[in-house]
Amino acid sequence: MPENMTHVPYYPGCTLKSKALGYERSAMDCARSLGFEMHEIEKWNCCGASFPLTKDNLMGLTAPTNILIETEQHCKERDIDAKLITLCSFCYNTLKRTDFAFREEPGKLKTLNEFLNREYKGNVTVIHYLEYLRDVIGFDNLSKMVKTDLSHLRVAPYYGCLLLKPQKELGLDDPEEPVILHDFLDALGCQVIDFPGQVDCCGAYLIMRNPDKVLELSHNILEEASEYGAQTIVTACPLCQSNLDQSEAVRGEMPILYFTQLLAVALGLETEQHQFESHCIDPKSLISSCKKFKEFSDAK
């Protein structure tokens, strides 16, 4: 491992440790290959998964506040930037919005600190892995590190909701016409399939109450992506992945990948641990169609 690897604090969240293990492993492997190491903060709890939408619900902020406090401690002990990297869209949304709420209303932070009997100083910047690729690594640089030929792959970027909304608070990209995943795929050298359903809701947690509705919504997204010529869809959210994947199991055979799984293939990494087999639609044949460029193919 190179010595000058940048240390980036990382919050996984529950799903990344279970259902979406392949997402975490591929993200970490890619990070190492790109020159940064994701370090899980020591003590973490579930973020609560959904940011409370009603202003008076301070209880819903306790879980994310604890995580922000742990991050501050983690960074202070190591004297590093308090920039917390996340992967799951739900975690990203909840943590970032909590921090934003405190910046807007310092009174809330005071109440929370008193209640928790700990102190969040308000110094954490919550970022998404995609943001790190775009703003720190740079997509231009990323494209130079690609070792696998993906030029035959037609990939549809799927954003969903919580990675982008509310824009005022997250500020990652335009919520109606985002480009970050497009630019990412472009850097990997694949054909980017721009389709209207890219920001439609997959049905999210409604899977718990009305799975038929979720399958219908996900089905519409998949149908549209296929009509536009996509062979696969990439997403940043484990719940989107799961809803789309389960719907596709009924509908067809398009694999739904985490963007980091495709990134690992592009970087020519060993993907055995990336849990492709845990998806309902196995992407193996699609992946095996991707060959390393000649200059890298011998140096396996």
């Binding site: 279970s18 259902k19 609560g48 409370p52 939408l53 009603t54 619900n57 009305n210 509705k213 799961s242």
Partner: protein, 129 residues
């Protein structure tokens, strides 16, 4: 479960305080409903219309509030900076605060728990239980 409200106006004021929203800001353009993927009936704008008319009991007992997925499309697009998603969550919470879960946890079954992502279960608990 039906919520019975004696004083509709007071209930609407409480809802505004809880959510931080101002119901009268909505000018009923319907943009929220146009973009809502949940095919809600009554729609988000109609729910707000009911509140504007003072019909709190009718709004809070509308089955469609449970169809909302908090996708935030409505709130993002509202030209008047109203958040229908927040208002709907406020209405849900009035039911949940009465300790009446919207879903029967026992009916979920092992199959569901085995295949779901943790985040779906945790959010589901927040929104329905």
């Amino acid at each position: 479960m039906q919520i019975n409200t004696e004083n509709n106006q007071a209930a609407i004021r409480d809802l505004e305080i809880a959510t931080g929203e101002t119901i009268s800001d909505c000018y009923q353009c319907g943009k929220c409903t146009a973009g809502c993927p949940a095919s809600m009936d009554p729609s988000p704008s109609l729910l707000i219309h009911l509140l504007k008319l003072g019909l709190f009991t009718k709004a809070v007992n509308s089955a469609s509030i449970w169809d909302c997925m908090a996708c935030l499309t409505c709130s993002e697009r509202c030209p008047k900076n109203v958040s229908p998603a927040a208002i709907i969550e406020g209405l849900k919470r009035i039911h949940l605060n009465n300790m009446e879960p919207e879903i029967n946890l026992n009916s979920l079954g092992q199959e569901f728990l085995a295949h779901s992502t943790q985040q779906a279960v945790v959010s589901g608990f927040r929104k329905f239980v």
